[in-house]
Amino acid sequence: MADTSYRELITDGLWHNNQALVALLGLCPLLAVSNTAINGLGLGLATTAVLVASNTTVSLIRNYVRPEVRLPVFVLVIASFVTAIEMGMNAYFHELHKILGIFIPLIVTNCIIIGRAEAFASKTGLSRSLVDGLSVGIGFTLVLLTLGGMRELVGQGTLFDQAHLMFGEAARGLTLRIEAFPGMLIAILPPGAFIGLGLLIMVKNLIDKRLAARAAERIDYPEGAEGAANP
């Protein structure tokens, strides 16, 4: 485990072991908050911040915490960071905080965070845990952002609506609006979240399959047609 390369950590977090698309963890916030791109981005970044902080801390204390109490300690660490980040968001992104509401405190219960703390950071050194937290968090954020963007675009015909809540007044121009398109309601409603996530997983699997096929071709080709795959 300790020998995983950074490159591998990053590609795992972002793609091969993407916690939202492969492990299907953290679905509750993923499905509930992905109704617009900005909501998704906001929750994703908050989750990433918690992941980085908790992974780093858990890795630092991994040799001092006795195994019997490690889970309560991890939960304490995570809950403290989430509360602190929630207060910070309330202070500096007040409107966005109001929209995301209960889903920010609920980051505590996001399985991805305790999962990475228990399965990875508690056995791994500081820098790898930090990179892991960052890439898993960004992977989750990208899924939230993509799903949010899809649902927003189909559901209400806009993209990056309310961007000013996050990036300040200057970002109002970022919002795209399709004038003639009133939106298909289903994308905003809960079923839209499930359909959208299903489509994303499908696209990911298709890409993976194509990549695998191409890789297999590349190995087979130079060594001749027959018997090349046999050991």
């Binding site: 915490v65 403290s80 602190a84």
Partner: protein, 212 residues
């Protein structure tokens, strides 16, 4: 003895992390408390000023507040009334009316009533109505909520305070009648309440509770 030591160490580790975690939260709370309070005040002031323009009053509306108990007429156990004055003269009140019978749960409103009985405006603060249908009552989704601006109990006449489907003067939405109907009803009841208690609303000293 061995087991006791293990338990004690585990308890000590857990306790020290509890202390550390609580310190982090306490520290953050102390750092952000004022800013959060200022944000909330600012947000409230912004929504009040959208209904009662800042230049029309010279008092601090957020502090000049009374609480009413009139659940049957204003929809919630406790209704907050913000009062706007200029040079000591009453200008307008803003009531936190609740619509108890929305399509899916209560709808919280801000209703501004000027001293002459006309509406300064109405805003939906929070609701759980169906996205795409009932949520057109939001200011950001449609102009419908502006149709209350400057209305009063004589404009339209009292009998016309309803949605068009019920023979009233206000539009409903395609696919959503219940939401606008219940909001129109709640605004009418608020106007009636303010008419019945006109001066009492302004005379009462701040934050004294009273029976509606």
């Amino acid at each position: 003895m061995k087991y006791r030591d293990a338990i004690l160490i585990a308890a000590a580790v857990l306790a020290s992390f509890a202390v550390l975690g609580t310190s982090l939260v306490t520290f953050t709370h102390a750092m952000t408390r004022e800013r959060i309070a200022a944000n909330e005040r600012q947000a409230l002031l912004r929504s009040l000023n959208a209904l009662v323009p800042q230049e029309s009053v010279d008092n601090d509306m957020i502090s000049d507040v009374i609480k009413l108990r009139a659940a049957d007429r204003l929809g919630s156990a406790e209704t907050t009334v913000y009062r706007g004055r200029k040079l000591g003269q009453p200008v307008a009140t803003v009531l936190t009316t609740v619509v108890p019978n929305g399509y899916s749960g209560p709808i919280k409103l801000l209703v501004a009533v000027r001293y002459d009985g006309t509406l300064g405006g109405v805003r939906v603060i929070s609701h759980k109505e169906t996205p795409g249908l009932g949520d057109k009552v939001e200011e950001s989704r449609s102009d419908w909520i502006y149709s209350f601006n400057d209305r009063s109990l004589s404009d339209p006449p009292l009998a016309k305070w309803g949605v068009k489907r019920d023979g009233g003067a206000f539009d409903q939405f395609t696919g959503a009648t219940i939401t606008p109907r219940s909001i129109v009803e709640a605004v009418k009841k608020t106007l009636l309440y303010v008419r019945d208690h006109k001066d009492a609303l302004y005379d009462r000293s701040p934050t004294v509770e009273n029976q509606g």
